[in-house]
């Protein structure tokens, strides 16, 4: 057989490979025109070549100009690019709860007050100052003058009132349209009691253009903390009126340091510095901010390594050490605002026995688990609140790890041979320990952590079967109280202890056991927390939360495993990123050098 033909094919193959490489290499620097042509031929099914011809015929003038102006990657120093774990749900602050949307919203919108730097202390934002009546029911805010929305509208008391109306009035057309489209104003409902007559507000008035007065039906302990949350921020009223119903097309207009440019679905959100931003001292330092959606954790870190993004969230615990030790990177830990726990279902007969619960608590060796599975960013938790919260009980002593003591406790409780079967809702079943199928800030590796906990328990004679299911079903089962023993956790919303403890342990007015929380029902804890929630002064509230934490610990209502400080990674040339426990982080201080 002649080999001439095959040789030619080989040569052709080689040529294609070389040309492709040339094209790829040449592109980042300005490619000379002849390379352009070659590449077109290589990549060119007839279709593309034809397209080129059409272009040349119609827009001859533009072609040479554009060729010399390539390539367009803007100067990186103008732009801060952040790699996010996913896609924003919506850029309307009032209807979201997720942090990915929240990050974008923080840059565009502002509220009356905000969390200061890396704490949960509340400081002025669009309100300069405020006063409270003695009974804690009337709050009067003085607004900043000369603040403008991105569309040029003045910010004033009227705008505040209109936004509150949008959130709480179900007859407000914008509100009603969203509800009809299936959206909820979940945070408003949760933090302010509900809508219309259910809300805690008796009256919200614009006294004059710079004064807003809130009259509450009952005093609310966490009121300021609630107002500082990332969702209670203000739309420009005309923009809100005009905004289409679908989230994807709702163009956000606020007063923040950056204004919205575009949202490319599944790709990125682009923001641009707002020239008329009121706070000149904290004016945005970068011209543009881009928040890119890079769903895969490894790919995101690679993008950071390649310098395509300047910062990222969602660093895998196993990558933390590598980022820490590499001078190309900067590791920033967000102060802990999460707690991972193990919860008992009180429909399991055995768990009604304090000794059994105590045995479960004392049989877990938390320290090695936290050290092994949190990438060095975790802390052992002994109570629900993380240390950064002012209701944290510093004097609380954790149950010590002791498998022998745990064994003895079980024997005392009538289980000398340990526990492997339980009576759940009247039926005898093997004891299942449920772990989450997804990584969350409070449990970065739920399966590994569950395995380690189960191994610890086994040493004390507690034999569990590990179980999981997809996330939606998991949450569903948990909501209906169908998980006998399970892992879950909480990320705080507003830096207030109420938000951590009361959500889980406050029963309704009739003191019904809470199905969602494994039918937990401790009236003393519940009453104490409910009282703290309507007390206004922090000094009076703190001891109540500390006492509640002590009761929860003594009664082993739940076992708290860890607080995590979520790691963020940046390239070494990024300065000024201030991590906040609530995740409310502002990019106006960020500089890429």
């Amino acid at each position: 057989m002649s080999t001439v033909w095959t040789k030619r094919l080989l040569v052709l193959l080689g040529l294609v490979a070389i040309l492709a490489t040339v094209a790829a290499c040449a592109a980042p620097t300005a490619p000379p025109p002849q390379v352009v042509k070659e590449t077109v031929v290589v990549a060119g099914p007839t279709k593309i070549v034809e397209a080129t011809k059409i272009v040349e015929a119609t827009k001859i003038v533009e072609v040479p100009k554009v060729v010399t102006a390539t390539p367009p990657p803007a100067k990186v120093q103008d732009t801060f690019i952040f790699g996010a774990q996913g896609e924003p749900v919506c850029l309307d602050p009032a209807i979201i709860t997720d942090g990915i949307s929240g990050r974008v919203i923080n840059q565009i919108f502002e509220g009356l007050v905000k969390f200061d730097k890396d704490t949960t202390n509340v400081v002025p934002s669009l309100a300069e100052k405020w006063t409270t009546s003695d009974d804690g029911k009337v709050w009067t805010f003085t607004l900043r003058k000369g603040v403008k929305f991105h569309d040029g509208t003045d910010f004033n008391a009227d705008a505040v009132v209109k936004n509150f109306d949008y959130w709480q009035n179900t007859k407000n057309p914008a509100h009603a349209a969203q509800v009809k489209a299936g959206q909820t104003y979940e945070y408003f409902e949760a933090q302010f009691g509900g809508f219309d007559n259910d809300s805690i507000f008796a009256k919200i008035e614009a006294v004059d253009p710079t004064t807003v007065k809130f009259t509450l039906k009952e005093p609310q302990g966490p009121f300021l903390n609630n107002l500082a949350m990332f969702v209670f921020v203000f739309w420009s009223p005309p923009a809100l009126e005009k905004a289409p119903v679908e989230c994807a097309n709702r163009k956000p207009v606020g007063t923040g340091p950056y204004k919205f440019v575009e949202w490319k679905a599944n790709e990125q959100v682009t923001l641009e510095a707002f020239a008329d931003y009121w706070d000149k001292a904290n004016a945005p330092k970068m011209k543009k901010v881009v928040i890119r959606n890079i769903p895969n954790n490894s790919a995101r870190l690679l993008a950071l390594s390649a310098g395509e993004i300047h910062g990222m969230e969602g660093l895998e615990p196993r990558d933390v050490a590598a980022v820490k030790g590499n001078p190309k990177f900067k590791l920033i830990l967000r102060p802990a605002n999460t707690t991972g726990y193990v919860a008992f279902n009180y429909k399991v007969k055995e768990f009604q026995n304090l000794k059994v619960r105590q045995a479960f608590a004392q049989a877990i060796n938390k320290k090695p688990i936290v050290d092994s599975f949190f990438g060095g960013t975790g802390q052992v938790a002994n109570q629900f609140q993380p240390p950064a919260l002012w209701g944290y009980n510093k004097d609380l002593k954790d149950w010590t790890y002791d498998a022998a003591v745990a064994k003895k406790l079980l024997a005392d409780a009538g289980f000398p041979n340990g526990i492997s079967k339980v009576t759940f809702d009247g039926k005898e079943v093997p004891l299942e320990f449920w772990y989450m199928p997804v990584s969350r800030p409070y449990y970065p590796n739920p399966k590994d952590i569950a395995t380690a906990i189960a191994a610890d328990w086994a040493k004390a004679g507690i034999n569990v079967t590990l179980q999981t299911v997809d996330w939606a079903t998991y949450l569903d089962k948990r909501k209906n109280g169908l998980l006998p023993l399970y892992m879950l956790g909480w990320t705080g919303d507003n830096g207030d202890p109420d938000n951590f403890v009361c959500y889980f342990f406050c029963m309704d007015a009739k003191d019904t056991p809470i199905a969602r929380e494994g039918f937990v029902a401790d009236k003393e804890v519940s009453d104490l927390l409910k009282k703290a929630a309507v007390t206004t002064k922090q000094a009076d509230r703190a001891p109540m939360y500390q006492k509640a934490e002590q009761l929860i610990r003594d009664r082993v209502l739940r076992v708290f495993i860890a607080n995590n400080q979520p790691p963020l990674a940046f390239t070494a040339n990024v300065d000024g990123y201030i991590p906040n426990p609530t995740g409310t982080e502002f990019f106006n201080t960020v500089v890429v050098k």
């Binding site: 094209a23 593309i48 990657p73 299936g182 679905a265 079903t473």
Partner: protein, 334 residues
């Protein structure tokens, strides 16, 4: 021929109907409901009930299905429950990204796979044959996820010559027309964007093209081998025809059929969305969108996109069938 085409198009109808019923049914019997997912850890029974009501999930199943199909026939596939976006409009916006990636991958697969297969067959048993079939075997068995990360590591992190993902650089702004960026950049005369798009397309297309390339190479080789052993090839050689003429005019023409089948299947598969590739390379195509929607129990997206994919797949098969006739006039459609 025309009658055959019409008949084939008509057989699509029951297939699509079947798919729609399956998709509609499956997504409603799997546990975990959309309201709970939307509300996450904070779901309260009242909110869940309210959202279910709003989404029409409380209506009887057949009623929900009839509403869905009625709207679908009018081109309205519903709106996403999570983001409120109209599904049809989103498919139009996102599908071009998938098309571009598919074309890139198939182009690479064809340009490398077919010549490699031909040479391997013609030079059976030589080092080239063994090497290319070894590479093909590796390619077929390669986990795309891993391959993608390795390509990024090599070309983006170490060599800094290609971007790690996305369709354009983060700082670039470009207003697309059709959202087929290669086409749009040319239509707008923006060569810079054209090359940027090519650079962004390179790694995902290579990663995605690897498996089809390997499959096509192997299929081309075996199809060619079969043909090369036939008598008429020997006759052609005996006539004194040049090797090239024998391979291209006589052998290849008859080896096309199985190759076209495989290429058609691969195109259909890739157009359905390359989930892993799209995830590793942050590519905004319909595969990743669909998977996100499944996790979020976003019924309208899952139903709409699956139905759309089914239509695309059936459509590609139809094109393949018609190509058969074009390639091999002996084929009669009865």
């Amino acid at each position: 021929m025309l009658r055959y085409v019409i008949k084939r198009v008509l057989t699509i109808v029951p297939v699509i109907l079947g798919v729609s019923i399956l998709v509609f049914g499956f997504i409603r019997v799997i546990p975990g409901d959309v309201a709970t997912v939307m509300l996450g850890e904070r779901a309260t029974p009242e909110n869940v009930a309210r959202i279910r009501e709003q989404l029409g999930l409380t209506k009887p199943l057949y009623e929900q299905y009839l509403i869905f199909m009625g709207n679908a026939l009018r081109g309205d596939l519903g709106t996403s429950v999570l983001r409120g976006e109209p599904v049809t409009q989103e498919i139009i916006r996102r599908f071009p990204a998938t098309i571009e990636l598919t074309l890139g991958a198939i182009l690479i697969a064809l340009v490398v796979g077919i010549p490699a297969g031909i040479i391997s067959a013609v030079r059976r048993g030589t080092w080239f044959d063994s090497l290319s079939m070894l590479v093909a075997l590796t390619g077929v068995s390669m986990p795309i996820f891993w391959l993608g990360l390795m390509l990024i590591l090599l070309f983006s992190v170490f060599l800094h010559i290609l971007p790690t993902g996305a369709r354009l650089d983060g700082a670039t702004r470009f207003e697309p027309i059709t959202n087929l960026l290669l086409l749009d950049s040319l239509l707008k005369g923006n060569i810079g964007i054209f090359f940027q798009t090519l650079r962004h397309l390179a790694l995902p297309a290579i990663a995605l093209g690897t498996i089809p390339m390997a499959i096509i190479a192997r299929m081309t080789r075996s199809a060619m081998l079969e043909v090369l052993n036939q008598d008429y090839i020997r006759t052609a050689h005996a006539k004194g025809l040049k090797e090239r003429a024998v391979v291209i005019n006589h052998a290849l023409r008859n080896a096309w059929l199985p190759v076209i089948t495989v290429v058609g299947l691969q195109v259909g598969r890739l157009l359905s969305g390359a989930i892993l590739t799209e995830t590793v390379f942050s590519w905004p195509g319909i595969g990743r969108w669909l998977v996100d929607a499944i996790y979020a129990r976003d019924f309208p997206i899952v139903q709409g996109v699956t139905l759309f994919i089914a239509i695309i797949f059936v459509g590609v098969n139809l094109v393949v069938d018609i190509l058969y006739a074009w390639v091999d006039p002996r084929i009669k459609f009865e």
